[in-house]
Amino acid sequence: MPEETVPERGLKSVKETVIASDDPIGKALRRLHDEVVAEPIPEEFLRLLGEIERKLNGAATPE
């Protein structure tokens, strides 16, 4: 299905985090991020997760 790469390897853990906490650009970027993160998860995502859940249950249910 997808032609783009799905990474197979494990990725390194978070170590060095950068951006000055008082940087106006950094502050605005973080607000942008935080506002979206604070939104409720839309219905279509819940439907998608429901499909995954059904597949999980289907796989777990003996015939």
Partner: protein, 191 residues
């Protein structure tokens, strides 16, 4: 006894699903910053989740799930951009409706101005600003996600910050004519 050691140990499906749920908000935020519009971003995230679920056996338990998901999302984003060379990632009229309403300038820069300016940057600069500046990932993790050297990340970040500041502060930003071609995001591989 002599069985080869598997390259990766996949996560249990239930655990994988739980990680997927937890990553939705930051993934949506990253996609929103990349695409500029809510609908397109959410479509991207759902596609990325579907791809991740299909490829869950290739995810190594214990490795960085956030980086793995961000990588899938950005790969999908660039593939979509290339397939739709004329795709416009920023529509001011749509954005006007979908961006967060209400006061967004408690102190410092206006968030909507930043969002608009972000869309005018080359995609590589935009994503590094979003990853490091907004999501708080490290240089190292950003390099993993973007598949490039840490030096490249630092360089793109520095250039992106300068460009973003210039766009926000510059007189050309607010009254810029709409026919300058700047609405199409640059996707040159070098950034």
């Amino acid at each position: 006894m002599n069985d080869p050691v598997p390259k990766t140990v996949p996560l249990d499906d239930k655990d994988f699903r739980d990680q997927l749920v937890a990553i939705i908000p930051p993934l949506r935020a990253f996609a929103r910053g990349l695409c500029g519009t809510r609908d397109m971003a959410d479509d991207m995230v759902q596609d990325a989740m579907t791809r991740a679920w299909a490829a869950r056996q290739s995810y190594a338990a214990g490795s960085n799930f956030r980086a793995w998901m961000f990588m899938i999302l950005r790969n999908h984003y660039y593939t979509t951009l290339r397939k739709n060379a004329r795709m416009v990632s920023w529509d001011p009229e749509v954005a006007e409706r979908v961006l967060v309403a209400g006061p967004t300038q408690q102190d410092g820069l206006n968030v909507q101005d930043v969002q608009k300016a972000l869309q005018k940057l080359p995609a590589e600069q935009r994503e590094v600003l979003l990853l490091i500046g907004a999501n708080g990932v490290s240089y190292e993790e950003a390099a993993d996600i973007m598949g490039c050297a840490i030096g490249t990340i630092k360089s793109r970040l520095a250039r992106g910050r300068v460009a973003l500041t210039a766009l926000i502060d510059g007189p050309a930003y607010k009254d810029e004519p709409s026919d300058k071609g700047s609405r199409s995001p640059a996707i040159s591989p070098t950034g």
